[in-house]
Symmetry: C2
Subunit: 198 residues, 2 copies
Amino acid sequence: MTSDAPRRGRRPGAPDTRAAILAAARELFAVHGYAGTSVRAVGAAAGVDAALVHHYFGSKDDLFVAALELRVDPRVALLPVVEAGVDGAGERLMQLFVKVWDIEETRLPLLALVRGVLEPGGQQLVRDGFFRMVLAPVGVALGLDEPERRMQLVASQLVGLVVIRYVLAVEPLASAPADQLVATYAPTLQRYLDGPLP
Amino acid sequence: MTSDAPRRGRRPGAPDTRAAILAAARELFAVHGYAGTSVRAVGAAAGVDAALVHHYFGSKDDLFVAALELRVDPRVALLPVVEAGVDGAGERLMQLFVKVWDIEETRLPLLALVRGVLEPGGQQLVRDGFFRMVLAPVGVALGLDEPERRMQLVASQLVGLVVIRYVLAVEPLASAPADQLVATYAPTLQRYLDGPLP
């Protein structure tokens, strides 16, 4: 049950109940991780039935993405990167990355997630959120051999770029134009996606 | 006045005075950054003369490195990487990186520095410490064109690897053997050091 609309186009519903479910989900996912959190437990913590959780948020995956509080569902945003196949995927991924991170509206919730990396609960969210739910499926959809390992290499480059450009804002990288970033990093990502693996 | 011994071989001195100077230096560098902190101000905050600060710690650069509380002076550790020239520097840099990060004694102080990245004072330390004092001089010593930009590209890869392997400890990257890491990342670093820049 993948939603194909950005999250700001929310399903209607009693705002208090929705908010209570979302708050419960954020807390449980942060403390127990994705695998250790059931939709039933989220419902119980919010004082509602699991069926109501599904009604408002769809699948457990959808609930998890909603709990990340991003403005765009990364699974949806990544579809065009994936659908065109592995050729040129490094460049398309960089274009998407810069587009999402250079716009304040989409950057701020992602930065909040990055800051959470240094807190134990935040680590679960990032590991489960970005690795299990976003990166690993992209690697599988691209038909990569060793999809987990290759997508982690990709992530190791992108996370570092986030830290230098958007968190530390070190010049000249912080002000480098988008097309220069794409041209610089796309070959690295492409090699990680389909180059030789030692 | 570069010390060529690891920092644990400290110069002798009254331990209370040394500690007071170091504590003052850490606080002032964190709050005001490298450029905004004078040796005189550190002395004043510690209740001693600037000459005594120089006596215990050497130059302002040496004091700054001491304030980072690393086990090894990165300027010294990087000498063999730099002295052999840019050919193969990516591989030598990766070997040093993995060696330093895979040993707990040297990893823990570095991790503390990384955690500081998300605090305003910590950002100053990382920007001044790693970029101004470690990376930028390495780029110059290697004779790179655009040394700052190239070393920031290198840093953007290494910082991301730190986050994925040592902070988040995502498998399989967290357990990848050192020689596999070197073989995987050395070509990326080498391209950033002397490949074409868009």
